[in-house]
């Protein structure tokens, strides 16, 4: 009988950015259909971890392994990882000199997704605009989420989908993440405020990352309550 592979498995992953170690030995398993929330203060290594999984330049894994469906991603370029089913919703992307319409058309062609899949995210009014140029915080998040959905990912990594988003847009963003999960995608969601958690239908595991290490894992509300009461300092002792 073949062993059942985790969708994503991180084994003692260390990541350096500009010669500084930012992620310091992370172990994590994400199974199919699971929703994981990664909480942590600014600068704790959450975004760096997602970018390293995506294979972005400048985020080199210096030790450990990233396995996706049992396959070591080390030698794969970002586009190859994306084509395996990994999608990254970037936190604050810079303007891209292409109209949104064009990017959406190309993604639909590549992944065979129908364009109306993202109708609810209300991006139609932005189609003729240069991607992200002059977009509001909410517009950036809705568009990035739309592009992530069009990739029909097996694993959607969402980097701060709630930062800079007003209450009206938070509902939209939350609903879209729930739809992604309902479609069977696994979610690895990074947030430093935890605001988006109120809008999610389910969270299977919550992890707290401090100073490049996962220092606690457990139930969402338990973690959030501890952070709200005592701050991330409550977890600092785990890192020493």
């Amino acid at each position: 009988m073949l062993p059942i592979m985790s969708l994503l498995k991180l084994e003692d992953v260390h990541v350096h950015v500009e010669q500084k170690e930012v992620v310091k030995g992370v172990n994590l398993k994400v199974e199919r259909g699971e929703v994981h929330v990664l909480l942590g203060p600014n600068g704790s290594g959450k975004s760096t971890l997602l970018r390293a999984i995506m294979g972005l330049p400048g985020y080199g894994v210096t030790r450990g392994k990233i396995l996706f469906e049992g396959r070591d991603l080390d030698s794969l370029k970002p586009y190859e990882r994306a084509r395996l089913g990994i999608a990254l919703m970037h936190q604050n992307p810079k303007p891209i000199s292409v109209k949104l319409q064009q990017v959406i058309e190309e993604l639909c062609k590549r992944y065979g997704a129908p364009q109306d899949l993202v109708q609810k995210l209300g991006v139609n009014g932005l189609m003729d605009r240069e991607l992200f140029k002059g977009f509001s915080g909410g517009e950036i998040k809705r568009v990035e989420l739309a592009l992530t959905i069009l990739q029909k990912p097996k694993l959607a990594m969402l980097d701060e989908p709630d930062s800079g988003v007003d209450l009206g847009n938070l509902r939209l963003v939350g609903d879209a993440i729930n739809s992604l999960a309902n479609e069977g995608a696994s979610i690895l969601l990074v947030t430093h405020t935890g605001v988006i958690a109120d809008y999610l239908n389910k969270v299977d595991f919550t992890h707290v990352i401090v100073d490049g290490r996962i220092v606690a894992s457990g139930e969402l509300n338990e973690m959030l309550n501890l952070i709200r009461e005592k701050g991330y300092q409550a977890f600092m002792r785990w890192t020493s």
Binding site: P57, P78, A82, S97, V98, Q102
Partner: protein, 342 residues
Amino acid sequence: MSLAEELARGGAIFYVQRNYEIVRQVIAKSLIEKGVVLEPLSSAVKKGWVDKLLWTVLPAREIEPKGAFVYIPPYVKVQAPVSFCFTVDKGSQSVHNVLVIGEGSEVTVTSVCSSAGDGKEHKGYTEVFLGKRAKLDYVMVHSWAKDTRVEAELGVIVDSEAVMNELYVSLRSPYELRGNARFILRKKASLSASTIYLATLGRALLETGVTIESENSSAEVTSRVVAAKGSIVRQPILLEAKAPNTKGHVECKGLQLSHDSVIETIPSLRSAHGGAQLTHEAAIGKISEEELAYLTSKGFTEDEAVTLLVRGFLELGIKGLPESLKPQITSILDLLARAATG
């Protein structure tokens, strides 16, 4: 049914000239009935129709009047495009066209100029007289064999309250091109002029001059130049205002795809009246690593990402053209992006 006849049934004008020979000259009956005229320019000269117009917008040249003359009477809306095609495949070709568009008329003109085989030289001069309250969408597409030398000039008078949207696209650059487009704007006139130039060879001089002569007029000049493979592109743009309550903006951007290419953009503003508002922006750069990283993270290979970025760069330089031309423009942009990165 031939393409020309089909187009004619749709109510169009179709004119094809190979070297100095007129290959096709078709005008729909419905347009003739409305008083629209398509004639060889030589014939219009003989009939004395254009005496007062020839070489009034462009500097006079000593060439035979070999080209087309089109007249659209006042208040005629021509639905299908007026299409010109000029090609040179042997020796040299000189073309002189005159377009007169009457008051309140509306028309779209597409003009394709190309060379092949032994076509060594093309000289094209087009003078356009756009009447009061008239509207003209003008798309000019060039595609040249590498050994061709090209001189292309466009001169336009945009009369009061008239609107002109112009797009010049070069699909394949020749070894030498001298282009010059000049526009004169009268009262409350509006101009949007865009240049899309892909240089993969040779030298190009792309001059644009806009003179806003009268009040309450506006002009927007946009250009996108992509240079690769040792090509050199120089682009002086002068926007001049001589009247109050006028607005003008020049935006020129260059994208270098190779280290041995040269782009020089020279946007100039000249205001001869205190009530003018003129602005410009210019930038030259290469494909950004950050943009590439973003697109590859979405599943595009580096080559696909570059093609997408070049296409986007060019597309963002097109302004003002009607939705009806979108399919053609889309095809052109796809071709250009592939040619730039191929």
